[in-house]
């Protein structure tokens, strides 16, 4: 039987999953909304991956021997599925992208609530930056503006490409952008120009804030949910004066990267899809042992405590049952 590896990337907005083989080929993939419930989303991802796996009769050919999780809920889902590798999304994205595009030098990524830049030299990340305090210019920002304009965010790219010019909109802050947007609408600016303006603002905001001080060297790969927006892609190409590559599997890169890392961990243990049908619960407890009042997250599987974290000191460590 051949070996296969599972990777799940649980972001704030979407949850992604892939199963790869030893040649890094994707055997099954899934992308769906997290909808504020990372555990459920991960279960749904597992159900979907399982049915793709079954449909292709892969279960007779492959055995999943390692799994990994990344993204903001990596810890939670990691303990849920018993993942061997639980790693941050920067490393997962760098590994995934350099596996598929070994010559990449700059990775631009704009997700639902965060955005990052990863600089790569000789196939290894050398530097990175992430957005700081606020989520201006990320997918969440575009979604909320789409809602205001009564347009589906998925249509943004296509509409933006039709515009003759981009209306100037400040994307530094969502509040300012909204008032800019309202003003542009009031003065009768065509919708496609406003949408093109929003795309330009997202690219500009990213380059001025996240990528501030970083040297952007070609080849450039752009990924994350926002990379599906052709309008933003074009604005990046215009601003940077170089081609910007969007991988058709760009949205799966984190999940793919963590699956590769699971493979490379060489820590093998049979994985069972049964976890998708178990009951998981989390509970938040406020530790009262000192004045810090840490919020400790406890994870239970079928009523049994399997993991906990969040304590700043050992006083708050919770004993496993």
């Amino acid at each position: 039987m051949k070996k296969a590896y599972l990777g799940i990337d649980i972001g704030s907005i979407s949850t992604k999953g892939v199963i790869i083989n030893e040649e890094n080929e994707i055997l099954a993939q899934c992308y769906l909304w997290t909808e504020g419930n990372p555990m459920n989303a991960s279960k749904n991802v597992l159900h979907e991956l399982k049915s793709q796996f079954d449909a292709a009769n892969s279960r007779e050919e492959y055995k999943i021997v390692a799994s990994g999780t990344t993204g903001s809920a990596r810890k939670l889902v990691g303990s849920m599925i018993g993942a061997q590798v639980v790693k941050n999304e920067i490393t997962a994205h760098a590994v995934g992208t350099t596996t598929l595009h070994p010559d990449v030098r700059t990775i631009l990524e704009i997700g639902g609530q965060d955005s990052k830049i990863i600089c790569v030299e000789n196939g290894v990340a050398v530097d990175y930056a992430m957005n700081t305090l606020c989520a201006a210019g990320t997918g969440a920002f575009l979604s909320s503006q789409a809602h205001r304009l009564g347009v589906e965010v998925e249509e943004f790219g296509e509409i933006a490409l039709k515009a003759k010019k981009a209306a100037p909109i400040a994307a530094r802050c969502t509040v300012f952008a909204e008032s800019d947007l309202v003003h542009k609408l009031q003065v009768g600016c065509p919708k496609e120009e406003i949408i093109a303006g929003l795309c330009k603002a997202v690219a500009g905001n990213y380059l001025n804030n996240v990528a501030k001080g970083k040297k952007i060297v070609a080849p450039v790969v752009f990924q994350g949910g926002v990379s599906k927006n052709a309008g933003v892609v074009r604005m990046f190409e215009e601003e940077l004066g170089m081609p910007v590559l969007v991988d058709e599997n760009g949205h799966l890169m984190g999940a793919f990267g963590i699956a590769v890392l699971a493979k490379e961990s060489q820590d093998e243990r049979a994985f069972s899809f049964d976890v998708a049908d178990m009951e998981f619960k989390t509970r938040e407890v406020t530790c009262g042992k000192c004045a810090n009042h840490c919020e400790i997250i406890c994870v239970y599987r079928d009523g049994m405590l399997i993991d906990s974290w969040g304590n700043r000191c050992d006083n708050g460590a919770i004993k496993q049952q």
């Binding site: 903001s72 790693k87 941050n88 999304e89 920067i90 490393t91 760098a94 590994v95 350099t98 596996t99 000789n122 196939g123 290894v124 990340a125 050398v126 530097d127 990175y128 930056a129 992430m130 700081t132 305090l133 501030k212 001080g213 590769v260 890392l261 490379e264 961990s265 060489q266 000192c290 004045a291 810090n292 009042h293 840490c294 919020e295 969040g310 700043r312």
Partner: protein, 311 residues
């Protein structure tokens, strides 16, 4: 009559605390310090502060409140700086007034001393003034100051020595660069050191470096920058970077001098990975942990020469 002097456990105590405490004790006073920073101290300080001020100042107010009723006066110096290009930020120029005003109902007795760069004064003169205020003779005060200064220097020297030994060791070394009261505060920078060490990195601090030589070096970086502590940070960074694998710039939100200086640093340090972290009052450390973990990964995989190796 002042017998017990309270020293709030925030802001410059992390830089000059040894000097202050020894000075007062040498003059025969008893000193009390508030406990290590924690969430409760921050919360009570935040409640009294105006929104726009910085996190360390909010923490400081919480520390002042901890000392209420436990001392005869709280020591809050007004430090402007001694030279035009080695000033303190405006927060320090107003510190005793801010505290007196914020706690005007509580009528906190404040012991203070005041100096500015245009006074053309020296540290010794400032302490002589302070001794005079406390009713001590010039002779006693001078003796106490010299003693306290020696203690302070010995304290810094021992930290510097330990850090130099750490620098010669094998393994991943990361410089935490920032204001001492951010780096060493148990609830702010203390967390970062804990996270870094848990990930197997040794931590070097920009304030465990000889201050005079750091200050001197900083003029190679900028001739016109007006802030003393940022100068000390930069000078120390220039010395430490040779032995380090990465630099974490730590700032507490919102710090004016850091906003400007850290931006300059990011643009000018090209030979080492630099991570810029801004701490705010958010209680969760998840965002910070992700950033540090990613940063350490970069350093480790760089050293290993690729992702193919087990980690």
């Amino acid at each position: 009559m002042i017998q017990t002097i309270g020293i709030p456990g925030g802001l410059m105590i992390h830089r000059d605390g040894v000097l202050w405490k020894n000075f007062f004790e040498q003059l025969g006073f008893h000193c009390v310090t508030s406990r290590k920073s924690d969430r409760q101290i921050l919360e009570q300080g935040t409640e009294r502060a105006v929104d726009e001020t910085c996190l360390p100042f909010k923490m400081y107010l919480g520390h002042v409140m901890e000392l209420m009723g436990k001392c005869d006066a709280v020591f809050i110096p007004r430090m402007g700086g001694f030279k035009t290009r080695e000033k303190m930020c405006t927060r320090y120029e107003a510190l005793p007034d801010l505290v007196k005003n914020i706690f005007r109902d509580e009528q906190i007795p404040v012991l203070t001393v005041s100096y500015d760069w245009y006074d053309r004064t020296t540290e010794e003169k400032v302490y002589l003034e302070l001794g005079d205020k406390l009713g001590k003779t010039k002779k006693e005060t001078k003796k106490a100051y010299i003693f306290a200064k020696k203690q302070q220097e010995a304290w810094l020297k021992s930290r510097e020595k330990a850090q130099n030994q750490l620098m010669e060791k094998e393994g991943t070394k990361v410089v935490l660069a920032g204001h001492p009261y951010v780096l060493h505060d148990a609830y702010m920078g203390g967390e970062l050191a804990r996270i870094l060490e848990k990930m197997g990195a040794s931590v070097l601090y920009t304030d465990y470096v000889d201050r005079d030589s750091a200050l001197k070096k900083s003029y190679d970086f900028s001739r016109v920058m007006p802030w003393l502590i940022n100068r000390e940070i930069i000078g120390a960074l220039m010395a430490l970077r040779k032995k380090a694998d990465g630099i974490v710039l730590v700032s507490a939100y919102p710090c004016g001098p850091d906003a400007l200086v850290n931006d300059m640093l990011i643009r000018r340090i090209k030979d080492l990975p630099v991570l810029s972290l801004t701490l705010d009052a958010q209680s969760g450390t998840a965002g910070v942990e992700t950033r540090i973990e990613s940063f350490i990964d970069i350093i480790k995989y760089q050293k290993a020469g690729g992702y193919g190796t087990k980690n």
